[in-house]
């Protein structure tokens, strides 16, 4: 039985490092070590493989692998730091061994540069707004980071407003900074989110699922009622439909979709479409 074999394997050596390729799509736990493809040849069965010494040390092809969320470099191996499914993305073009990352489910958001998030303005001090993005620190947003904002033409932002923006600075050592313009100076959908509507929180995994290309849930929801929806990578969703009741129904559906199978979801949608 596979279970007996895995128990035996565990008892032999606390945790042997496994090749990353063989573990793709499986659940990995913190503390496991993964070998990158270039090291598999060196390890070999038993480890005592004779290799001809090469005078030209650079001849061995080095593959540059990007270490994504949930993984850390540990010597020349990858150490798993979060629990989740191991994923890999092949490099689109050019060099590189692609990206490895751990797809984990969590509720707590950690600011990452380039992420688009929904924040709530909590304070206005001088030229900076303090925006709560759900991280450990509020992000700072300058009043000049809006489309068409100048020193004389200030944007109309009040405490309590919802802002959709992206991070330009987000690392563990500094306070996160966000802006509501892209690199060309255009708003591109970012800025203050309009009146009414409902903001609610979901897990980060659900947001990623909803933002994946060809997500069925969004297509089905779109057929149900006309709506406006904004997704923040920090787990926040803002929804607005014609009436409050429709807005609440949409919010409940999106919150529940995490735990429903696709059949249950289709049933609920068909029932709502009838009524």
């Amino acid at each position: 039985m596979a279970e007996a074999a895995s128990v035996a394997a565990e008892s032999l050596a606390g945790s042997r490092a496994r090749a990353a390729r063989t573990v793709l799509g499986q659940v990995v736990l913190p503390g496991e070590e993964l070998l990158l493809p270039e090291q598999e040849d060196a390890e070999g069965p038993g480890g005592a493989v004779e290799r001809p010494l090469s005078l030209n040390a650079g001849a061995r092809s080095r593959v540059r692998v990007v270490c994504g969320p949930g993984l850390r470099r540990c010597g020349d191996r990858l150490l798993v730091t979060k629990c989740g499914r191991l994923r890999h993305k092949e490099p689109g073009s050019g060099s590189g061994g692609g990206v490895y990352w751990v797809d984990s489910q969590q509720k707590r958001y950690v600011p990452v540069k380039g992420d688009h998030v929904i924040g709530i303005v909590t304070a206005k001090s001088g030229d900076i707004f303090k925006v709560d993005v759900g991280g450990s620190e509020p992000a700072s947003l300058s009043y000049l980071s809006f489309e068409g904002a100048t020193k004389r033409n200030r944007p109309n932002v009040q405490v309590g407003d919802l802002i959709y923006g992206q991070f330009v600075v987000a690392n563990k050592d500094m306070e996160p900074e966000m802006v509501c313009i892209d690199s060309c100076g255009r708003a591109n959908g970012m800025g203050v989110i309009g009146q009414d509507g409902l903001l609610f929180k979901v897990t980060l995994g659900l947001i990623r699922k909803l933002l994946a290309p060809d997500c069925e849930i969004i297509q089905e929801v779109g057929k149900l009622y006309p709506l406006e929806i904004v997704f923040g990578m920090n787990g926040r969703i803002w929804v607005k439909a014609k009436t409050i009741q429709q807005t609440l129904i949409l919010a409940n559906i999106l919150e529940a979709c995490e735990h429903m199978t696709s059949d249950q979801r289709k049933q609920i949608f068909s029932r709502l479409a009838e009524s």
Partner: protein
Amino acid sequence: MEEEMHTDAKIRAETGTGSSPRGPGCSLRHFACEQNLLSRPDGSASFLQGVAEKSRERLIRNTCEAVVLGTLHPRTSITVVLQVVSDAGSLLACCLNAACMALVDAGVPMRALFCGVTCALDSDGTLMLDPTSKQEKEARAVLTFALDSVERKLLMSSTKGLYSDAELQQCLAAAQAASQHVFRFYRESLQRRYSKS
């Protein structure tokens, strides 16, 4: 590690956490209070009743600190709240397991998983793993170990009672063997959770 640990069977050990009566008819445990310990709030105080709870918290905290990658989250505090629903023996080991699972669920980056295993030695020298409350009370010594998942190394040990050096090693070996069952349970439980999505 708790102060009650001894390696030599000849020395009589204290049975630790008992009450220290202050006078006839007073059955309250020891108190300790500290005030104004936090600078930000207007007022703060810490009140301690009974020494056992504080050391249990300290043990769990030290184990978590050894395993959590705190350098990835500077200027951040991670609070672990443990609520005892029912105590059927091996409470500290159960708290350690719960804390580990909660940290994994929260997505806190860790360098390994950890688990707690309790051993009890009764008067004959028989070793019992995961004792019930009754077995713990009647045992001559109760030892709790926290082990990590990578190489089954010892992260924390908390012991109470009378035991010899050889018995300590025996209990540690038994706990290491038992820990793999706990880690296998963690793995199955997490796989079940991720298979739903």
